[in-house]
Amino acid sequence: MSQSGLRADLDIVASWVGEGSRVLDLGCGDGLLLRHLFDSRQATGYGLEIDPEKITQSIANGINVIQSDLDQGLSDFDDQAFDQVIMTQTLQAVQRPRELLLEMVRVGREGIVTFPNFAYYRLRAHLALRGRMPMSGALSYGWYETPNIHLCTIRDFEILCEALSIRILERRVLSNNYQQSFAGNLLPNLLGEIALYRFCQS
């Protein structure tokens, strides 16, 4: 936990959001990231969420939340309607991540995503040594019940961005319990557990 009380990855995301930004949070959960952005950055905007209980929590946290299915795209929103479109730990759970990334840069000037890096060394070891589907702190579901249907690695993500003409503006990686480390920056695809990106349409 950081000073803001947010998880370290969300803290970095928050640092990327400018003062007074208009933001859209895809899969906003209980709304605490938006709450933080509203309070500390005077940001405005909406969260989209599909889980009924989380929608109620978001409303209770005083943010604007719209019940939405991200797999239906973002057709409710006009082009470039937001400064930033944020999606934390959700990319791997959507039906069409490629289309959604394009939607993010359509409705937002910038996109921000975070996801668990499937090439993280512990996950590799899990599969290589134990011969079982990898599980970790960031990926805590069994293979038969996981909502994470489109896992990718840091390298995979960057290759896709290039193919989609999405320009990466900034990358950060966190390893071992959401810490930033020198080693993680040196060998991100091996030592990074969580990847964070800020990007735009090139």
């Binding site: 909406y46 929608i55 943010i63 019940q67």
Partner: protein, 384 residues
């Protein structure tokens, strides 16, 4: 004596009447020389009148939204699920007001009232009123109660549409809007159902061109049919299957080969229709359905709902129910989309419920939780 009411009920309530002597100009061009509104209030208005919530009723609703009129009342008010201590419209925090719409038949001036010009009941001569007319008349009620700005205007179905109209017509007087199972306008299918209901009433030989009161008569059959039809559309197919299936009244399950009531669903509909006739006026029913048909705030903005809502100053809570095919989620989403287009503060919940349109009257847990969460976030200023 033990209190006969549940602990989360507001309990015994009594209606009041506000009398307005000033003329009221209506959208139709007619002017009412004066009018009365029947209303009820629940809870206590705080010192700076910042905790008042206006509840708008649906087609066949009344000002009796919560509590009981007498110890032996069989049923509480129509929105008992949502109004009372600890409920979404928490009467410990809010001062809740509900009025019978102008043109109604439960105490507000309407077709059954005496026309001062003739000394006879208005009957068919009562002018058609619009949702905007209702807002105009309720604004005078707000003045009468000393409420400059509603903490919220809330309603389901037609009541939700009325809440939207409030925000559009008097933006500075509405801090929050709660529109449940509403729509930006009726669909052709909805208008069609209303037209069948109206024809059922108007073709009843006892309708007498709307002057049935003078004739000492009532179009009972027509009104009953109208209600039976409406009732079918307020329920989902799943709700009817669950409630009645093909259950028959007779124990042996044999067919009678006649037109007596055989299936439970027939019995239910007849009962609903008949009991409605005892408490509702046919001219009011005609007028209310017409007000619904006319509602279309986007129309005067070239069909652009966002423009219609652009000048509103409210925060919004919009909710719909998955099995509601009369005012479906897609209609609520259209409202949400228009609010997003104009950067309004809005939250939207699509509630999983099998009850059809009537779900807005039911204690569906997720509905009450999200509604409560929204109301919790409303600042009511100084406490009493």
């Amino acid at each position: 004596m033990a209190v006969p009411y549940p602990a989360d009920s507001i309990g015994l309530v009594s209606p009041q009447t506000a009398v307005f002597d000033q003329p009221l100009e209506l959208d139709s061009g007619h002017t009412l020389p004066g009018f009365e509104l029947a209303y009820e209030t629940y809870g206590t208005l705080n010192a700076d009148a910042s905790n008042a919530v206006l509840v708008c009723h649906a087609l066949s609703g009344t000002h009796h939204a919560a509590g009981y009129h007498a110890d032996d009342d069989r049923k509480p008010g129509w929105w008992e699920a949502c109004i009372g201590p600890g409920k979404p419209l928490d009467t410990e925090r809010f001062f809740v007001v509900c009025s019978n719409n102008l043109g109604g038949c439960h105490g507000s001036t309407g077709p059954t009232s005496l026309n001062p010009a003739t000394g006879q009941p208005y009957g068919a001569d009562f002018p058609l009123v619009t949702v905007r007319d209702w807002v105009r008349s309720q604004a005078l009620l707000a003045d009468h109660l000393g409420i400059q700005r509603w903490a919220a205007v809330a309603g389901g179905s037609l009541g939700g549409m009325q809440a939207l109209q409030w925000a559009i017509d008097l933006p500075e007087r509405v801090a929050n809007v709660v529109a449940i199972a509403a729509a930006p306008r009726l669909s052709a299918q909805n208008i069609a159902f209303n037209e069948v209901a109206r024809q059922a009433i108007r073709s009843d030989p006892e309708f007498h061109e709307g002057r049935y009161q003078q004739a000492g008569d009532r179009p009972r059959r027509g009104l009953m049919l109208a209600r039976m039809l409406g009732h079918i559309t307020y329920l989902s197919e799943a709700a009817m299957r669950e409630k009645f299936g093909r259950d028959q009244r007779g124990a042996n399950g044999d067919y009678g080969y006649n037109f007596d009531v055989e299936f439970e669903v027939e019995s239910y509909l007849r009962y609903q229709g008949q009991s409605f006739v005892d408490r509702f006026d046919a001219n009011t029913y005609l007028l209310m359905t017409k007000a619904l048909d006319y509602f279309d705030p986007a129309a005067e903005h070239g069909g652009n709902l966002g423009e219609a809502l652009a000048n509103t100053q409210s925060r919004y809570f919009i909710a719909s129910f998955t099995s509601d095919w009369r005012f479906p989620p897609s209609a609520s989403r259209e409202i949400v989309r228009a609010l997003l287009d104009t950067n309004k503060s809005v939250s939207y919940a699509e509630i999983e419920a099998d009850h059809g349109h009537d779900a807005f009257l039911m204690p569906v847990p997720r509905y009450l939780e999200s509604f409560s969460a929204f109301m919790h976030g409303i600042n009511t200023g100084v406490a009493t």
